[in-house]
Protein backbone atom coordinates (compact mmCIF):
# COMPACT_ATOMS: atom_id res chain seq x y z
CA UNK A 1 0.00 0.00 0.00
CA UNK A 2 2.91 2.29 0.79
CA UNK A 3 4.10 1.94 -2.82
CA UNK A 4 0.70 2.97 -4.11
CA UNK A 5 0.17 5.97 -1.86
CA UNK A 6 3.62 7.42 -2.57
CA UNK A 7 3.99 9.47 -5.77
CA UNK A 8 4.69 7.11 -8.67
CA UNK A 9 7.98 7.31 -10.56
CA UNK A 10 8.08 8.46 -14.18
CA UNK A 11 8.73 5.00 -15.63
CA UNK A 12 5.64 3.46 -13.99
CA UNK A 13 3.49 6.30 -15.30
CA UNK A 14 5.13 6.23 -18.73
CA UNK A 15 4.60 2.50 -19.18
CA UNK A 16 0.93 2.63 -18.17
CA UNK A 17 0.20 5.66 -20.36
CA UNK A 18 2.03 3.99 -23.25
CA UNK A 19 -0.14 0.90 -22.80
CA UNK A 20 -3.29 3.01 -23.19
CA UNK A 21 -2.43 3.26 -26.90
CA UNK A 22 -2.75 -0.50 -27.62
CA UNK A 23 -5.56 -0.86 -25.06
CA UNK A 24 -7.82 1.54 -26.98
CA UNK A 25 -6.83 0.03 -30.31
CA UNK A 26 -7.52 -3.52 -29.19
CA UNK A 27 -10.73 -2.66 -27.35
CA UNK A 28 -12.31 -1.13 -30.42
CA UNK A 29 -9.86 0.37 -32.94
CA UNK A 30 -9.88 3.73 -31.16
CA UNK A 31 -7.07 6.22 -31.48
CA UNK A 32 -5.88 7.85 -28.29
CA UNK A 33 -6.89 11.53 -28.26
CA UNK A 34 -8.49 13.82 -25.73
CA UNK A 35 -8.90 17.25 -27.24
CA UNK A 36 -11.30 15.90 -29.89
CA UNK A 37 -13.81 15.72 -27.03
CA UNK A 38 -13.97 19.50 -26.99
CA UNK A 39 -14.88 19.43 -30.66
CA UNK A 40 -17.52 16.78 -30.04
CA UNK A 41 -18.89 18.96 -27.24
CA UNK A 42 -19.21 21.84 -29.73
CA UNK A 43 -20.86 19.52 -32.23
CA UNK A 44 -23.37 18.39 -29.60
CA UNK A 45 -24.15 21.75 -28.00
CA UNK A 46 -23.52 24.53 -30.49
CA UNK A 47 -22.86 23.34 -34.05
CA UNK A 48 -24.30 26.68 -35.37
CA UNK A 49 -24.20 25.43 -38.93
CA UNK A 50 -20.39 25.50 -38.89
CA UNK A 51 -19.20 22.75 -41.25
CA UNK A 52 -16.40 21.81 -38.83
CA UNK A 53 -18.99 20.82 -36.25
CA UNK A 54 -21.46 19.13 -38.54
CA UNK A 55 -20.74 15.45 -38.31
CA UNK A 56 -22.23 12.49 -36.58
CA UNK A 57 -20.81 12.97 -33.09
CA UNK A 58 -22.73 9.90 -31.91
CA UNK A 59 -19.98 7.80 -33.49
CA UNK A 60 -17.51 9.46 -31.12
CA UNK A 61 -19.36 8.91 -27.85
CA UNK A 62 -16.70 6.43 -26.75
CA UNK A 63 -14.43 9.44 -26.19
CA UNK A 64 -16.89 11.05 -23.75
CA UNK A 65 -16.87 7.76 -21.80
CA UNK A 66 -13.07 7.84 -21.86
CA UNK A 67 -12.73 11.37 -20.39
CA UNK A 68 -15.54 10.62 -17.96
CA UNK A 69 -13.31 7.79 -16.75
CA UNK A 70 -10.37 10.16 -16.36
CA UNK A 71 -12.48 12.39 -14.11
CA UNK A 72 -13.61 9.42 -12.00
CA UNK A 73 -10.00 8.19 -11.84
CA UNK A 74 -9.04 11.60 -10.48
CA UNK A 75 -11.68 11.32 -7.76
CA UNK A 76 -10.74 7.74 -6.77
CA UNK A 77 -7.05 8.54 -6.70
CA UNK A 78 -7.51 11.68 -4.62
CA UNK A 79 -9.91 10.10 -2.13
CA UNK A 80 -8.42 6.66 -1.66
CA UNK A 81 -4.91 6.41 -3.03
CA UNK A 82 -3.34 9.68 -1.97
CA UNK A 83 -0.56 10.27 0.48
CA UNK A 84 -1.82 13.79 1.14
CA UNK A 85 1.70 15.10 0.92
CA UNK A 86 2.60 18.34 -0.79
CA UNK A 87 4.30 18.29 -4.17
CA UNK A 88 8.06 18.70 -3.79
CA UNK A 89 9.41 21.07 -6.41
CA UNK A 90 12.83 22.20 -7.53
CA UNK A 91 14.22 24.80 -5.07
CA UNK A 92 14.78 27.34 -7.87
CA UNK A 93 11.13 27.08 -8.86
CA UNK A 94 10.00 27.36 -5.25
CA UNK A 95 12.10 30.50 -4.84
CA UNK A 96 10.77 32.04 -8.05
CA UNK A 97 7.15 31.23 -7.19
CA UNK A 98 7.55 32.59 -3.67
CA UNK A 99 8.45 35.97 -5.19
CA UNK A 100 4.96 35.98 -6.76
CA UNK A 101 3.38 34.97 -3.47
CA UNK A 102 2.79 31.35 -4.46
CA UNK A 103 3.68 29.24 -1.47
CA UNK A 104 0.86 26.70 -1.16
CA UNK A 105 1.89 23.30 -2.52
CA UNK A 106 -0.89 21.28 -0.92
CA UNK A 107 -2.89 20.75 -4.11
CA UNK A 108 -1.99 19.54 -7.60
CA UNK A 109 -3.33 22.87 -8.75
CA UNK A 110 -1.92 25.90 -6.87
CA UNK A 111 -4.89 27.22 -4.90
CA UNK A 112 -3.41 30.71 -4.93
CA UNK A 113 -3.69 30.84 -8.72
CA UNK A 114 -6.65 28.61 -9.57
CA UNK A 115 -9.69 29.33 -7.43
CA UNK A 116 -13.07 31.00 -7.82
CA UNK A 117 -11.75 34.06 -5.97
CA UNK A 118 -8.77 34.44 -8.29
CA UNK A 119 -11.11 34.09 -11.27
CA UNK A 120 -12.11 37.68 -10.52
CA UNK A 121 -8.52 38.95 -10.61
CA UNK A 122 -6.69 39.89 -13.81
CA UNK A 123 -4.04 37.23 -13.16
CA UNK A 124 -6.56 34.47 -12.56
CA UNK A 125 -8.67 35.47 -15.55
CA UNK A 126 -5.67 35.50 -17.89
CA UNK A 127 -4.41 32.14 -16.62
CA UNK A 128 -7.69 30.24 -16.48
CA UNK A 129 -9.86 31.76 -19.20
CA UNK A 130 -6.99 32.92 -21.43
CA UNK A 131 -4.94 29.76 -20.94
CA UNK A 132 -7.92 27.50 -21.50
CA UNK A 133 -8.83 29.33 -24.68
CA UNK A 134 -5.29 28.96 -26.07
CA UNK A 135 -5.28 25.26 -25.20
CA UNK A 136 -8.60 24.61 -26.94
CA UNK A 137 -7.93 26.80 -29.95
CA UNK A 138 -4.35 25.61 -30.41
CA UNK A 139 -5.11 21.92 -29.96
CA UNK A 140 -7.78 21.96 -32.64
CA UNK A 141 -5.70 24.14 -34.97
CA UNK A 142 -2.83 21.68 -34.57
CA UNK A 143 -5.20 18.75 -35.06
CA UNK A 144 -4.54 17.23 -31.67
CA UNK A 145 -3.05 17.73 -28.24
CA UNK A 146 -0.40 15.98 -26.20
CA UNK A 147 -2.25 12.67 -26.35
CA UNK A 148 -3.18 12.71 -30.04
CA UNK A 149 0.12 14.07 -31.34
CA UNK A 150 2.88 13.56 -28.75
CA UNK A 151 1.79 10.07 -27.70
CA UNK A 152 -0.47 8.51 -30.36
CA UNK A 153 1.08 10.32 -33.33
CA UNK A 154 4.68 9.69 -32.29
CA UNK A 155 3.87 6.05 -31.47
CA UNK A 156 2.65 5.68 -35.06
CA UNK A 157 5.83 7.48 -36.28
CA UNK A 158 3.91 10.34 -37.87
CA UNK A 159 6.33 13.17 -38.61
CA UNK A 160 3.64 15.92 -38.61
CA UNK A 161 3.00 14.88 -35.00
CA UNK A 162 6.69 15.40 -34.25
CA UNK A 163 6.45 18.92 -35.69
CA UNK A 164 3.38 19.57 -33.52
CA UNK A 165 5.07 18.16 -30.41
CA UNK A 166 8.17 20.32 -30.93
CA UNK A 167 5.93 23.37 -31.37
CA UNK A 168 4.02 22.50 -28.17
CA UNK A 169 7.33 22.50 -26.33
CA UNK A 170 8.59 25.75 -27.92
CA UNK A 171 5.31 27.50 -27.05
CA UNK A 172 5.56 26.20 -23.49
CA UNK A 173 9.16 27.32 -23.10
CA UNK A 174 8.33 30.82 -24.35
CA UNK A 175 5.35 31.15 -22.05
CA UNK A 176 6.95 29.70 -18.90
CA UNK A 177 10.24 31.57 -19.18
CA UNK A 178 9.43 34.86 -20.88
CA UNK A 179 5.72 35.68 -20.55
CA UNK A 180 4.46 33.90 -17.43
CA UNK A 181 6.73 35.93 -15.06
CA UNK A 182 4.91 39.11 -16.14
CA UNK A 183 1.50 37.49 -15.77
CA UNK A 184 2.36 36.16 -12.31
CA UNK A 185 3.35 39.68 -11.29
CA UNK A 186 -0.14 41.00 -12.10
Amino acid sequence: METITQPWPWYTAGIIIGLIVPALLILGNKHFGISANLRHACAVCLPSNIPFFKYDWRKETWNFFFVGGILVGGIISTLYLGSGEAVIVHPDLAQELASYGITDYSGMVPAQLFSFESLFTVRGLVMMVGGGFLVGFGARYAGGCTSGHAIMGLSDLQWPSLVATICFMIGGFIMANFILPFILHL
Partner: protein
Amino acid sequence: MENKTNQHTNPADFEVRSLDTMCVNESELKHPWYYNLKYSLVGVIFGIVFIKAEIISWFRIQEMFRLQSFHMYGVIGTAVVVGAISVFLIKKFKVKTIHGEEITFTDKKFNKGQIIGGLTFGLGWALTGACPGPLFAQVGSGAIVILVVILSATAGTWVYGKFRDQLPH
Protein backbone atom coordinates in the same frame (compact mmCIF):
# COMPACT_ATOMS: atom_id res chain seq x y z
CA MET B 1 -2.56 1.53 -45.72
CA GLU B 2 -6.04 1.72 -47.22
CA ASN B 3 -8.88 2.00 -44.84
CA LYS B 4 -11.53 -0.28 -46.24
CA THR B 5 -14.14 0.45 -43.63
CA ASN B 6 -14.40 4.05 -44.77
CA GLN B 7 -15.07 3.64 -48.44
CA HIS B 8 -18.77 4.14 -47.97
CA THR B 9 -18.33 7.53 -46.33
CA ASN B 10 -18.09 10.84 -48.09
CA PRO B 11 -14.42 11.39 -49.05
CA ALA B 12 -14.51 15.09 -48.11
CA ASP B 13 -15.90 14.20 -44.75
CA PHE B 14 -13.16 11.62 -44.30
CA GLU B 15 -10.57 14.23 -45.25
CA VAL B 16 -11.85 16.69 -42.66
CA ARG B 17 -12.14 14.06 -39.99
CA SER B 18 -8.74 12.52 -40.62
CA LEU B 19 -7.10 15.91 -39.98
CA ASP B 20 -8.07 15.49 -36.39
CA THR B 21 -7.69 12.90 -33.76
CA MET B 22 -11.13 11.66 -34.53
CA CYS B 23 -12.23 8.14 -34.95
CA VAL B 24 -12.16 7.94 -38.74
CA ASN B 25 -11.97 4.19 -38.50
CA GLU B 26 -15.41 3.75 -37.12
CA SER B 27 -16.74 0.40 -36.14
CA GLU B 28 -19.13 -1.46 -38.40
CA LEU B 29 -20.54 -3.27 -35.42
CA LYS B 30 -23.45 -1.95 -33.45
CA HIS B 31 -23.08 -2.37 -29.75
CA PRO B 32 -25.30 -1.29 -26.90
CA TRP B 33 -24.16 1.94 -25.18
CA TYR B 34 -22.71 0.19 -22.14
CA TYR B 35 -19.99 -1.33 -24.31
CA ASN B 36 -18.46 2.14 -24.09
CA LEU B 37 -17.84 1.57 -20.39
CA LYS B 38 -14.70 -0.37 -21.32
CA TYR B 39 -13.27 2.97 -22.44
CA SER B 40 -14.31 4.50 -19.13
CA LEU B 41 -12.32 1.83 -17.36
CA VAL B 42 -9.21 2.74 -19.38
CA GLY B 43 -9.95 6.37 -18.53
CA VAL B 44 -10.13 5.57 -14.81
CA ILE B 45 -6.68 3.97 -14.94
CA PHE B 46 -5.37 6.96 -16.90
CA GLY B 47 -6.86 9.38 -14.36
CA ILE B 48 -5.28 7.51 -11.44
CA VAL B 49 -1.85 7.60 -13.12
CA PHE B 50 -2.27 11.31 -13.84
CA ILE B 51 -2.71 12.03 -10.14
CA LYS B 52 -0.32 9.47 -8.70
CA ALA B 53 2.58 10.53 -10.93
CA GLU B 54 1.73 14.23 -10.38
CA ILE B 55 1.36 14.70 -14.14
CA ILE B 56 -1.60 17.00 -13.56
CA SER B 57 0.42 19.18 -11.21
CA TRP B 58 0.85 22.75 -12.46
CA PHE B 59 4.21 22.74 -10.67
CA ARG B 60 5.52 19.71 -12.60
CA ILE B 61 4.66 21.40 -15.90
CA GLN B 62 6.49 24.55 -14.82
CA GLU B 63 9.55 22.46 -13.91
CA MET B 64 9.41 20.77 -17.30
CA PHE B 65 9.41 24.05 -19.21
CA ARG B 66 12.24 25.38 -17.04
CA LEU B 67 14.30 22.20 -17.50
CA GLN B 68 14.37 21.76 -13.72
CA SER B 69 13.11 18.20 -13.68
CA PHE B 70 13.37 15.09 -15.81
CA HIS B 71 10.06 13.72 -14.54
CA MET B 72 7.70 14.81 -17.36
CA TYR B 73 10.25 14.02 -20.07
CA GLY B 74 10.62 10.56 -18.57
CA VAL B 75 6.84 10.03 -18.52
CA ILE B 76 6.23 11.18 -22.09
CA GLY B 77 9.38 9.52 -23.44
CA THR B 78 8.56 6.14 -21.86
CA ALA B 79 4.95 6.39 -23.02
CA VAL B 80 6.05 7.01 -26.60
CA VAL B 81 8.50 4.09 -26.56
CA VAL B 82 5.88 1.70 -25.12
CA GLY B 83 3.24 3.07 -27.51
CA ALA B 84 5.54 2.75 -30.54
CA ILE B 85 6.48 -0.85 -29.70
CA SER B 86 2.80 -1.67 -29.26
CA VAL B 87 1.79 -0.09 -32.58
CA PHE B 88 4.66 -1.88 -34.31
CA LEU B 89 3.56 -5.24 -32.89
CA ILE B 90 -0.10 -4.61 -33.74
CA LYS B 91 0.84 -3.84 -37.34
CA LYS B 92 3.33 -6.70 -37.65
CA PHE B 93 1.01 -9.38 -36.30
CA LYS B 94 -2.14 -7.77 -37.72
CA VAL B 95 -3.72 -7.88 -34.30
CA LYS B 96 -7.50 -7.54 -34.35
CA THR B 97 -9.82 -5.88 -31.84
CA ILE B 98 -11.55 -7.97 -29.18
CA HIS B 99 -14.58 -7.92 -31.50
CA GLY B 100 -12.52 -9.32 -34.38
CA GLU B 101 -12.33 -6.09 -36.37
CA GLU B 102 -9.23 -4.91 -38.16
CA ILE B 103 -7.12 -2.24 -36.44
CA THR B 104 -6.43 0.63 -38.81
CA PHE B 105 -4.11 3.62 -38.89
CA THR B 106 -4.40 6.86 -40.80
CA ASP B 107 -1.39 8.92 -41.80
CA LYS B 108 -1.46 12.49 -40.57
CA LYS B 109 -0.98 15.15 -43.20
CA PHE B 110 1.28 18.08 -42.56
CA ASN B 111 -0.18 21.58 -42.60
CA LYS B 112 0.78 24.94 -41.08
CA GLY B 113 -1.70 24.32 -38.30
CA GLN B 114 0.68 21.93 -36.61
CA ILE B 115 3.14 24.81 -36.27
CA ILE B 116 0.85 27.77 -35.53
CA GLY B 117 -1.66 25.76 -33.55
CA GLY B 118 1.14 23.84 -31.85
CA LEU B 119 2.79 27.05 -30.63
CA THR B 120 -0.57 28.42 -29.48
CA PHE B 121 -1.31 25.22 -27.61
CA GLY B 122 2.13 25.35 -25.97
CA LEU B 123 1.53 28.89 -24.71
CA GLY B 124 -1.73 27.75 -23.15
CA TRP B 125 -0.23 24.57 -21.75
CA ALA B 126 2.37 26.49 -19.72
CA LEU B 127 -0.32 28.90 -18.44
CA THR B 128 -2.88 26.35 -17.29
CA GLY B 129 -0.23 23.76 -16.42
CA ALA B 130 -2.40 21.14 -18.04
CA CYS B 131 -3.24 19.76 -21.43
CA PRO B 132 -6.81 18.61 -22.09
CA GLY B 133 -6.55 15.17 -20.43
CA PRO B 134 -5.16 16.41 -17.10
CA LEU B 135 -7.82 19.16 -16.98
CA PHE B 136 -10.46 16.48 -16.42
CA ALA B 137 -8.35 14.75 -13.76
CA GLN B 138 -7.82 18.11 -12.04
CA VAL B 139 -11.58 18.53 -11.75
CA GLY B 140 -11.71 15.02 -10.33
CA SER B 141 -9.04 15.92 -7.79
CA GLY B 142 -11.40 18.55 -6.41
CA ALA B 143 -10.36 21.67 -8.31
CA ILE B 144 -13.88 22.45 -9.50
CA VAL B 145 -12.79 25.86 -10.83
CA ILE B 146 -10.94 24.04 -13.62
CA LEU B 147 -14.36 23.52 -15.22
CA VAL B 148 -13.98 27.18 -16.23
CA VAL B 149 -10.73 26.30 -18.01
CA ILE B 150 -12.43 23.38 -19.80
CA LEU B 151 -15.31 25.64 -20.80
CA SER B 152 -12.88 28.22 -22.13
CA ALA B 153 -10.97 25.53 -24.03
CA THR B 154 -14.26 24.42 -25.59
CA ALA B 155 -14.91 28.03 -26.56
CA GLY B 156 -11.44 28.15 -28.12
CA THR B 157 -12.25 25.02 -30.11
CA TRP B 158 -15.52 26.58 -31.27
CA VAL B 159 -13.80 29.81 -32.34
CA TYR B 160 -11.28 27.76 -34.32
CA GLY B 161 -14.12 25.92 -36.05
CA LYS B 162 -15.88 29.19 -36.81
CA PHE B 163 -12.84 30.86 -38.40
CA ARG B 164 -11.20 27.74 -39.78
CA ASP B 165 -11.51 28.82 -43.42
CA GLN B 166 -9.83 32.19 -42.78
CA LEU B 167 -6.84 30.66 -40.94
CA PRO B 168 -3.67 29.58 -42.77
CA HIS B 169 -3.34 25.83 -43.10
